[in-house]
């Protein structure tokens, strides 16, 4: 059941163990008490997170810690079992149809494997949100698509290729171009550097930072690549066992005084986080 009445006042004290910073203004995205259960597995167990306008927030956490589920709940791809998600102060849990579409127009998303439509040429992939979402004329949309491709370092000749002809790094670039084509206010990045070599990873990170700053957008990324995390984020939140256990400036992550964060960013097998390895 949706418990959308379950909201916290912004001034209310944050739950124990969470360091929420005092909000400067209405947060771009405000998440309160978000829960999501699959079968008998509790994936999100009361997530609280504020993302301020114009900042780049990053969520770290181990594999299977629910990072992707968190993103999909905000996008409305999954229905949370409880809690509240407010975008620009508007409750989005329980929205559907044209109201949900209206909120979704604020979002852009770069998927982990880019999720390009393989039935369409590259330029139409990039222009998809303009043609289908905004009903723009195809010729004009193509021009914008080629501009966006240039912004991610791809020439106009790439526009006529199909996604199957692209390398991994190029797919990510096209995915990024598609995510920024509609000039969204909020952009999500799902593991932007996974599957790329370190150099291409750095290139994509730089493009992400340039694009986000260029649009003045708010960004929410998830990753477990700490090098990438340091490059693209202003603040980092750590998700562990379905809860946000730490939030802080990226600069201060090495001095978090949190054993969980320390273990994660240093990549140690020993520590408070025990990987669940079950006997078969």
């Amino acid at each position: 059941m949706n418990d959308s009445s379950h909201t916290y006042d912004a001034s209310e004290k944050a739950p124990a163990g969470v360091r929420l910073e005092e909000p400067k203004s209405t947060p771009k995205i405000a998440i309160r008490g978000l829960t999501k259960v699959f079968g008998d597995k509790v994936v999100l167990d009361g997530v609280d997170l504020d993302i301020q306008p114009g900042e780049s927030m990053l969520v770290i956490g181990g594999s299977g810690s629910g990072k992707s589920v968190l993103l999909k709940c905000i996008l409305g791809l999954l229905h949370p079992d409880g809690g509240s998600i407010k975008v620009d102060g508007e409750e989005v849990v329980g929205l559907y149809g044209s109201d949900l579409d209206r909120v979704r127009r604020k979002f852009g998303m770069l998927f982990q494997n880019a999720a390009l439509f393989d039935s369409l040429p590259v330029w139409e992939n990039v222009a998809f949100g303009l043609i289908q979402g905004q009903r723009m004329d195809r010729g004009k949309a193509r021009e914008i698509a080629l501009e966006k491709l240039a912004a991610v370092g791809l020439g106009p000749d790439v526009g006529d290729l199909t996604p199957a002809e692209l390398s991994g790094g190029m797919r990510k670039r096209v995915g990024l171009a598609r995510a920024i084509a509609t000039e969204p206010e909020i952009i999500f990045f799902d593991e932007p550097t996974t599957g790329l070599d370190p150099i291409m990873g750095d290139v994509i990170d730089r493009l992400i930072v340039d694009c986000v700053k260029g649009l003045g957008a708010t960004a929410l990324s998830i990753t477990h690549d700490m090098a990438s995390a340091r490059r693209i984020s202003d603040r980092i939140a750590m998700l562990y066992k379905g809860k946000i256990i730490w939030v802080g400036e990226t600069k201060g992550i090495d001095h978090s005084d949190n054993p969980y964060v320390d273990q994660f960013i240093n990549g140690r097998a020993e520590g408070p986080i025990q990987m669940q390895v079950r006997d078969l």
Partner: protein, 257 residues
């Protein structure tokens, strides 16, 4: 009660699946009727389902018509009732064999490819990507396919009817020694509007069922290549079974006294 538990569980799973399919069907239908429409995609699916299925449906129809004439002859010759062959061929083809065989062939060809395509889009997050680009997958992926299936299969069956009757005509005139003019006259005299119309109604229903099963199993596929493979199998098997069972009920609706 360890015996009752699995029975109850199976029953619950069955009810859950039925409910999910019913909701999916209603949602798909409502999106077929409400704008925005995607004429470009509807036309592409019509060509895919209608035009590209012509060879396989045509071949099925001509051989069915031919074998029908041959088999009826061996049976009817015993009672000196050979003259009933044009009647048997045209009624069997238009009422039953045309729609059912065309439906089954299209289920194998189109239903499978739809389930595989949408299933792959699902497991590679392309369906989610549609959602994030403010495009409803039901409108963009499913409605054009359902509309195309519903409209194209009757046209395919109309062609199959003609080719099937022609197959019977060839065998009867070339092999069984019928007079061509008499055969055609008998065919034309026996055929009734209701025979053809009932076949076309069946075809529309089958086209809807085939595309619905392809879309439903593709849309709900999970877990990589294996999930897509299972979705493809389920789409073809469930579409075939639905075609055969709906065929009975529609026949009863039209012809039961």
């Amino acid at each position: 009660m360890p015996i009752l538990q699995p029975i109850g569980r199976t029953f619950l799973i069955f009810l859950e699946a039925t409910g999910r399919l019913s909701l999916f069907t209603l949602l798909s239908l409502s999106h077929c009727l409400r704008p925005p429409f995607y004429p470009r995609l509807i036309v592409r699916q019509m060509i895919e389902i209608g035009y590209y299925s012509l060879p396989v449906v045509g071949l099925t129809a001509i051989f069915t018509g031919m074998v029908l004439a041959l088999q009826s002859y061996t049976g009817f010759a015993r009672f000196s009732a050979e003259s009933a062959i044009p009647n048997v061929v045209v009624v069997s083809i238009t009422r039953e064999l045309g729609p059912v065989l065309a439906g089954l062939m299209v289920a194998g060809r189109v239903g499978a490819s739809m389930a595989a395509e949408i299933g792959t889009m699902r497991v590679t997050e392309q369906v989610d990507a549609l959602d994030t680009l403010a495009t409803n997958p039901f409108k963009y992926l499913i409605a054009p396919r359902l509309i195309a299936g519903l409209t194209m299969l009757p046209l395919l069956v109309l062609v199959a009817d003609i080719i099937g009757v022609f197959g019977g005509y060839i065998v009867s005139t070339q092999k069984l020694g019928f007079n061509p003019a008499t055969y055609l006259k008998n065919t034309w005299d026996f055929i009734e509007v209701q025979d053809v119309v009932s076949g076309l109604v069946k075809a529309g229903v089958f086209g809807f069922l085939v595309t619905l099963m392809g879309c439903y199993h593709g849309y709900n596929s999970r877990g990589g290549a294996q999930g897509v493979g299972a979705a493809t199998t389920n789409a073809v098997v469930s579409a075939s079974i639905l075609i055969l069972s709906f065929n009975y009920f529609i026949t009863e609706l039209f012809f039961a006294r």
